[in-house]
Amino acid sequence: MAYGLIRVLDEQGRAVGPWAPTLEPDVLRHGLRAMLLTRLFEDRMFRSHRQGKTSFFMKSTGEEAISAAQSMVMGPRDMCFSTYRVLAWLMARNYPVIDLVNQIFSNEKDPLKGRQLPILYSARGYGFYSLSGNLGSRFGHAVGWAMASAYKGDDSLALAYIGEGSTAEGDFHEALTFASVYHAPVIFCITNNQWAISSYSGIAGGEETTFASKAIGYGLPGLRVDGNDFLAVWAVTEWARARAKANLGATVIELFTYRGAGHSTSDDPARYRPADEAKSWPLGDPIDRLKQYLITQGEWDETRHVQFEAELAEGIRAAIKEGEAVGTLGQSKPPVSEMFEGVFEHPDWRVQEQKRELGA
């Protein structure tokens, strides 16, 4: 299973094979909502960046099924150690869109007080660990979290994301070693979206073997799954979660997908890959595929979809308007005294003096 590709949704939008989960239509519609909301929000915020309303933005276009399904499979007390392309995790848990907007605008109501780059969220109450721009460096935190939870007799599991490019970091191998040695209840997810900025997955070793197969050397199970297949991602994650819950240890999941957009607002993908490559991606679009499945099941139709999309877009427009009223980047920011808070639990004399020096 580390070398094949686990799929459920076929080309005709049917759920087939041994991994097909049985899910209520409302659950599926909630998943579709999280994915659509993510896509619409990110497209809209990307435009906000082009309008100069924020400094930086990144989209997860084409990868929405992964974190939407996993957020729904994992429990409210589980912790996600995220990358910057898993916004659907928060959307699936109904994180307030206005808080995302305020964080991206770094305005007065930014929940992270203007201290962090746009989209590097932290949302403990939503099972979302503090995100950072360093790649891979939280992978091992998930192991520590899972070990701590197990030590305390708690049932909070950890799920960690890393990109296929960052599997080359030492953090990846260290985390797998520790998880293996201590049988930590953690799920390691490698989102293989084929591209690390401009480097194709072969630069990370993707032409020599699969990323899921890296698990084998650590004595861990590795599963390779179609990351654009909401149902397959759901089923595989459920399997890994049950394994962790039963105290059988960690699982590595390679989520085979495609980065539909550029790396960030700072690059033009046409400079390093064919402009039409995204259209040629054979595994399709995750939103279209789940939508098609719901339609096949008689639980959705085009009219409802168009109406639904319009409703979500309206909600997003309203949230962005509300955020813009507070202020976009540079127009509004938290009190500058916030720059000096949270460096230590209690500020030492340096921080206090410098705060006074700035007149904050």
Binding site: P111, L112, K113, R115, Q116, L120, S122, A123, R124, Y129, S130, S132, N134, S137, R138, F139, G140, H141, A142, V143, G144, W145, A146, M147, A148, S149, Y151, K152, S156, A158, G170, D171, E174, A175, T177, F178, V181, G342, V343, F344, E345, D348, W349, R350, V351
Partner: protein, 337 residues
């Protein structure tokens, strides 16, 4: 009160904390069954069990990443890095993660971890078992850096570090693990037994971080030191007959600035002593602070006595090490200036 070496005092601190607080875990390379290469964790696994004190893979980055995750969950992990020289694979974890977590998450997560590491020279350990990297950590805001100089402080500072909600780098000068080394390497090694600061209470007590210790009162010159150099400086004062005021900083972050400035304003002279190499060493920061805050009280330029700006050498250990002769020379020069 029991008499303890620094090893025993550190062991006692860990023993007390493991006994009192189920959230404290102790781990690192060779830390569990074997009890650590310097024996600091000796007997702890046997007494407190495998879940509380355990061996880790040889992976400093993995050790610290695991500790941070545990800390974020709510435990108080105490990780050992076998030698401070080996801490660099974990540097990214300490700088980019432990030091920043509270700040970047607006207090949603933090890393109450203690990272212990034997440090410093004087044991013929060569380049990879002798270095003093404290300035690297002092420069990173969000980290505390603690360096004890005696058994009593070692235990109280380690307990304070474990109880701190900020990440603490706890550097243990290995040359004074067994006795107060004054830099006279040709002399017979003295044990801690009989030293007043080897009288260590058996139970829980705290030496707060950020409070320097006035080791010797004097009127002519302030000597700022920490770790092994406290003993070297004390010997230099005694042998030179110069009325030096010796301050043991105990922790360089947080730094007891008031103790430093009060002393230099009184004496008008300042000599800074550390084992680490000089250029951009912690002495540079101390020198800048004293200059900025005590300039009009100074009777002579501030002096630094430090390791040379070379890698830590093996055969030249005692040429590199800032021993009493070099400290005395600096004291004499500053008095003549």
């Amino acid at each position: 009160m029991p008499s303890m070496s620094m090893i025993q005092a550190l062991n006692s601190a860990l023993d007390v904390m493991l006994g009192e607080n189920p959230d404290v875990l102790v781990f690192g390379e060779d830390v569990g069954y074997f009890g650590g290469v310097f024996r600091v964790t000796d007997g702890l696994q046997k007494k407190h069990g495998l879940k509380r004190c355990f061996d880790t893979p040889i992976s400093e980055g993995g050790i610290i990443a695991t500790a941070i995750g545990m800390g974020a969950y709510g435990l108080r992990p105490v990780a050992e890095i076998q030698f401070a020289d080996y801490i660099l694979p974990a540097f990214d974890q300490l700088v980019s993660e432990a030091a920043r977590l509270r700040y970047r998450s607006n207090g949603e997560f933090w890393a109450p971890i203690t990272v212990r590491a034997p440090y410093g020279g004087g044991i013929y350990g060569g380049q990879t078992h002798s270095q003093s990297p404290e300035a690297l950590f002092a420069h990173v805001t969000g980290l505390c850096t603690v360096i004890p100089s005696n058994p009593y402080d070692a235990k109280g500072l380690l307990i304070a570090s474990i109880e701190s909600n900020d990440p603490v780098i706890f550097l243990e000068p290995k040359r004074i693990y067994h006795g107060p080394f004054d830099g006279h390497h040709e002399s017979q090694v003295k044990p801690w037994a009989g030293h007043p600061l080897a009288e260590v209470p058996a139970g829980h007590y705290v030496v707060p971080l950020g409070k320097a210790q006035l080791v010797r009162e004097g009127n002519d010159v302030t000597i700022l030191a920490y770790g092994t150099m406290v003993h070297v400086a004390a010997a230099a004062i005694e042998e030179s007959g110069i009325d030096g005021e010796l301050i043991d900083l105990r922790s360089i972050v947080p730094l007891d600035l008031d103790a430093i400035t009060a002393s230099v304003r009184k004496t008008g002279r300042c000599v800074i002593v550390h084992e680490a190499s000089r250029f951009a060493g912690f002495g540079a920061e101390l020198s800048a602070l004293v200059q900025e805050r005590c300039f009009w009280h100074l009777k002579s330029p501030i002096a630094r006595v430090t390791g040379w700006d070379t890698p830590y050498p093996h055969a030249f250990e005692w040429d590199y090490f800032p021993g009493p002769a070099r400290v005395i020379k600096a004291l004499v020069q500053i008095m003549e200036a």
